[in-house]
């Protein structure tokens, strides 16, 4: 399992959109994981439906599947376990799960 989406929120009935991930030049994790992360371009960077920003290390986490509220994702560059939530502005955000 290499995708950072560790566990999908149960009860998601609608099929999830699939994404093909290309390398973006992110080189801070071992090669086979690199396409699952990219550098964040700052507050003006628009995230795709399969992306969420890690609040700990500010790297964008990318999945091959659309992300939804309640999904559990893993940020390899900083080793954080995160849960996808909806921010006040209605966009997806990640909350750290300290375990």
């Amino acid at each position: 399992m290499t995708d950072p989406l560790l566990e999908e929120e149960v009860g998601s009935e609608e099929p999830r959109q699939r994404f093909v991930l290309d390398e973006t030049g992110f080189d801070e994790v071992p090669k086979k994981y690199r396409r699952f992360y990219r550098k964040w371009g700052g507050p003006t960077d628009t995230l795709a439906p399969n992306e969420v920003l890690c609040p700990v290390c500010k790297v964008v986490i990318r999945s091959t599947r659309e992300l939804r509220v309640g999904d559990r994702v893993y940020c390899m560059p900083c080793m954080s376990r995160l849960v996808v939530a909806k921010s006040a502005s209605g966009l997806l955000e990640a909350i750290v799960n300290y375990g």
Binding site: E28, V29, Y74, P77, C78, V96, Y98, G99
Partner: protein
């Protein structure tokens, strides 16, 4: 204990770091890369580069002392193992920034006297506050001071320096890029390990918050001193850039960082954007792990 470290391994560190983003580098930058000609040939810019790099060496020496000291204070082996890799990261940072001083013309025999001459006294105090906790083998306070306050500071400072150097001095920008990648792991360890430990030791909160307040005071005083003396070098850099443009050398896109145009911002504006960014991050990070940010008196 949180199991976040179970996913971490020395093997992963090897594949990510020495066999990953540090592959084919020397002292953290591309093989054969040199300091920019503007810095090498201009005494004002060279001296300011030495002054800035000395602060990085001082900060990294503190991080090396803290992370190595925390290995023996850590209550579990996964944390000891992580801190062992962090110790090597920090030793590498000390080495690459020291090497930059040599590249800028500092003689090996004058290294310590150069550091003593340019080190900001408030940065030295900042380090002392942290190392006092480490010397007492106070793991929780030490990790907050090292992996959240110091690393959080370093993360933003390195990003700002990287944005400033990306076009003008690729060698230094490449050196910084590797350290930023290292800092991601370090802040990740700080947040994740303390996020669970602070729940176990809530009685430590007041003492840790006092430490954060003291460290923040010295950090802001360091910024104030650094930017109040940087005006001449910033003007000189901009004068040379304008001269190059007049001579027909195309200028690079303006470097922006957190909304500020780094090529036109005044020293006061640069200090404000850096301080606001670091303090904003402190507040958010500390609040996430259950600590309340303490505002220090104005330096």
């Amino acid at each position: 204990m949180s199991d976040f470290l179970s996913a971490y391994s020395i093997q992963n560190w090897l594949e990510s770091c020495p066999q990953g983003y540090l592959l084919d580098t020397e002292y953290g930058h591309g093989i054969g890369e040199k300091e920019s000609e503007a810095i090498a040939s201009n005494s004002t810019l060279r001296e300011e580069s030495i002054r800035t790099t000395v602060q990085l060496v001082v900060g990294e020496r503190c991080a090396l002392a803290a992370s190595s000291g925390l290995v023996n204070a850590a209550p579990d082996y996964p944390s000891k193992r992580f801190l062992a890799t962090q110790t090597l990261d920090e030793a590498r940072h000390v080495e690459i920034f020291t090497q930059r001083l040599y590249d800028l013309g500092v003689k090996k025999s004058e290294l310590q006297s150069t550091i003593d001459q340019y080190a900001n006294p408030h940065l030295v105090k900042f380090a002392e506050v942290l190392l006092e906790k480490v010397d007492k083998k106070d793991f929780v306070a030490g990790v907050v001071g090292q992996n959240i306050v110091l690393e959080g500071l370093a993360f933003s400072v390195f990003e700002m320096l990287h944005a400033t150097s990306a076009a003008a001095n690729p060698k230094f920008a490449h050196t910084l890029a590797g350290t930023i990648a290292d800092e991601r792991r370090h802040v990740g360890f700080g947040e994740n390990r303390i996020g669970s430990l602070i729940k176990e030791f809530p009685e430590k909160k007041p003492e840790i918050e006092r430490m954060q307040k003291d460290m923040t005071y010295h950090m802001l005083a360091t910024f104030s001193a650094a930017f109040s003396g940087a005006g001449a070098a910033m003007n000189e850099g901009r004068r040379l850039a304008a001269q190059a443009e007049e001579a027909g050398i195309p200028s690079s896109e303006p470097a922006r960082w957190h909304g500020a145009n780094l090529q036109t911002a005044s020293p006061e504006e640069m200090e404000a954007v850096l301080a606001d960014t670091v303090l904003g991050e402190f507040k958010t990070r500390l609040s996430r792990i259950g600590l309340e940010y303490q505002t220090p008196s104005a330096p």
